[in-house]
């Protein structure tokens, strides 16, 4: 069963075609990683799926047309965490996570006890309860990313859209955040669609990769099929070797020509 189906998605921004007839699908509880060089259209695709950009083509979830859903209805199904979310520096972590309950509140409504319980639960899950009373402006990079995920989780989405969830994080925190996301999809059955810069991490965590180039799908499939030396050399104009780690995931290593000596 395909949880998310993207069918011939086309997006124009400022009269420039950014995405051409992009189609791909990911099954329920899966993790689809969008990879590709800068400007390939990864973020645009994510924003279009989130319903934040006008587009042609369809985004369906279990045969439900998401384009027909508006506002809160869509927000109950899809949570979107942009690459650089706005974190009001003086808002407390608790209040920020509670914003995730917005799609469930009526126009005049205020978050009630049940909403606070859901927010607390999400905070607990991402281990941010300890600093629930702190200001967002006082958090470290790793703490911020967890707080953003906690807000998304409080939204109780079926689909989590993450734009570069590991940018700005050191290697340990990157792995920690990716493991948390992996736990969410395994524990809650959340389907994850994310952009990822690091090809090795994309291969380690996602079960389906879509390689975008110039707004088109270059290749899609399981990591081992997409992460090949020839394809990366062609699409990224980069020289890499691809090996396999003990877990069977492809590892992409950049290589450099030996520098030429002065006598050459």
């Amino acid at each position: 069963m395909n949880a998310i189906t993207i069918d011939e998605l086309t997006v124009d921004l400022d009269r420039v075609r950014i995405l051409h007839d992009v189609s791909c699908a990911i099954s329920s509880g899966g993790w689809l990683a969008l990879i590709g060089p800068n400007g390939a259209g990864k973020t645009t695709l994510l924003r279009a799926v989130a319903g934040l950009l006008p587009h042609r083509g369809a985004v369906r979830m279990d045969d439900k047309d998401l384009g027909a859903l508006r506002g809160r209805g869509r927000a109950r199904l899809i949570a979107y965490v942009p690459q650089i979310p706005v974190l009001p520096p003086d808002m407390t972590v608790r209040d920020y996570v509670l914003l995730g309950r917005t799609p469930y509140l009526g126009y005049l409504g205020a978050p009630g006890r049940a909403d606070k319980a859901k927010a607390d639960q999400a905070s607990e899950q991402l281990d941010v309860t300890r600093f629930a009373g702190r200001r967002l402006g006082s958090l470290s990079g790793g703490e911020r990313q967890r707080v953003r995920l906690a807000r998304a989780l409080a939204q109780e989405p079926q689909v989590l859209l993450l734009d570069e969830p590991t940018s700005d994080l050191d290697l340990g925190h990157q792995q920690h955040v990716l493991e948390l996301v992996d736990d969410l999809r395994r524990g809650h059955g959340v389907t994850v669609v994310s952009t990822l810069h690091d090809l090795t991490q994309a291969g380690q965590y996602a079960d389906h990769l879509v390689l975008l180039c110039d707004g088109k799908v270059e290749t899609a499939g399981p990591p081992a099929a997409v992460l090949t030396e020839e394809l990366i050399a062609r699409v990224y104009a980069a020289r890499v070797t691809v090996s396999t780690d003990p877990g069977g995931h492809p590892v992409v290593t950049p290589v450099r020509d030996p520098p030429r000596g002065p006598g050459d």
């Binding site: 924003r47 989130a50 319903g51 934040l52 506002g71 809160r72 209805g73 869509r74 927000a75 109950r76 899809i78 949570a79 979107y80 942009p82 979310p85 706005v86 974190l87 009001p88 520096p89 003086d90 808002m91 407390t92 209040d95 920020y96 914003l99 995730g100 917005t102 799609p103 509140l105 005049l108 409504g109 205020a110 978050p111 402006g137 939204q155």
Partner: protein, 344 residues
């Protein structure tokens, strides 16, 4: 207040402080003035007006008239004006995610100034009733023109604010031109521009009350929506909010609140920008708290400012706009020094 350094007041206590401030301001203002009212008798006379409370008061007929026909209407009008300007300022700050915005933005003050000037210069014969109506209409028209111009220029809060600045400058230029050609009205226009609550009546308070109630209710209802907007339009949309619709509604309500205040008081600056900031320092940035607390605190602040305006150079009066800035600025700087920063 240094006690709160680095810490925020819990919501219940913040409401208590703000309400106590308004009550204290009301009592001080009721007791201070040219006529010497006995404090105890004044308080019992005021309490006696509360439904179901019956207290004998020793005030004689003259003192009662001073209290209920001169001081109290002025207090109520001052509280209304201060509360409206502060709520409007806080609402605009939330909608534009900009701490420097106040109730006179978006052509509101300039429009009111032009309206009042036109009424005084060309419809002086229509009597004093024409000025508030013209100021009210001018203020709303100023915001409407600014909003429409901003919408033409594209979406986004910066465009809207820039359009507001442009419209404000344009309307002020027209006003200056009109004034230039009728120097005999300069004094009257100028004194209106500086703001005053002298001559306040129950009737004035009654006239703006419906507009005040509607606009304040709309703004307060959107406190939670403004909190969502603080993460930016795109994320707010991803959370299911309609940023454009929210912005239009809140701006319209704030414009109505500010126009109602301006109609009866003239242009009083400073309140709409400073009060919300003081409140934020004490209670944190959530608009669910900032909006109602600004209403209470702004009301108390203007009642106190007006008390100074009518007593410092008694029997003459200072323009209230001068008092709010003259006394308010140092107090504001002191509060900035003694409480933790809160960015919007």
């Amino acid at each position: 207040m240094t006690r709160t350094r680095g810490r925020r007041l819990p919501a219940a206590r913040a409401y208590g402080v703000a309400a106590a401030f308004l009550v204290a301001a009301t009592l001080i203002s009721a007791l201070v003035g040219a006529a010497d009212l006995n404090p105890l008798d004044t308080i019992t006379a005021l309490l006696d007006k509360i439904p179901l409370v019956h207290l004998p008061s020793g005030l004689d007929a003259v003192d009662r008239a001073v209290l209920f026909q001169i001081r109290l209407p002025r207090i109520v009008l001052g509280a209304l004006v201060g509360g409206l300007l502060s709520v409007a300022g806080a609402g605009y700050q939330g909608v534009f995610r900009n701490p420097l915005v106040d109730s006179g933005m978006l052509g509101a003050s300039a429009g009111a100034g032009l309206g009042a000037t036109l009424a005084i210069v060309y419809f002086g014969g229509a009597g004093p009733a024409a000025v508030p109506v013209a100021a009210f209409a001018g203020s709303l028209a100023g915001v409407a023109i600014a909003y429409a111009s901003g919408a033409i220029g594209g979406s986004g809060t910066a465009t809207l604010l820039l359009a507001g600045v442009a419209v404000g400058l344009f309307l002020t230029a027209v006003q200056t031109y009109v004034l230039q050609r009728s120097a005999q009205d300069l004094q009257q226009v100028y004194s209106w521009l500086l703001g005053s609550l002298s001559g306040a009546t129950w009737q004035q308070a009654g006239e703006i009350l419906p507009y005040a109630a509607v606009s304040v209710a709309i703004v307060l209802v959107h406190g939670r929506h403004l909190d969502v907007l603080s993460v930016g339009d795109e994320e707010a949309r991803a959370l299911g909010l309609h940023p454009g619709r929210t912005r239009l509604l809140v701006v319209a309500a704030c414009a109505l609140a500010a126009a109602s205040a301006v109609a009866v008081s003239g242009l009083i600056g400073f309140v709409g920008i400073v009060v919300p900031h003081v409140v934020r320092r004490l209670a944190g940035p959530s608009y669910r708290l900032v909006l109602p607390l600004s209403l209470l605190t702004g009301a108390g602040f203007l009642v106190l400012a007006d008390t100074l305006a009518r007593t410092v150079v008694s029997p003459a009066e200072l323009p209230i706009g001068v008092v709010t800035a003259l006394v308010g600025s140092p107090v504001f700087i002191w509060i900035l020094r003694s409480t933790p920063a809160v960015r919007t």
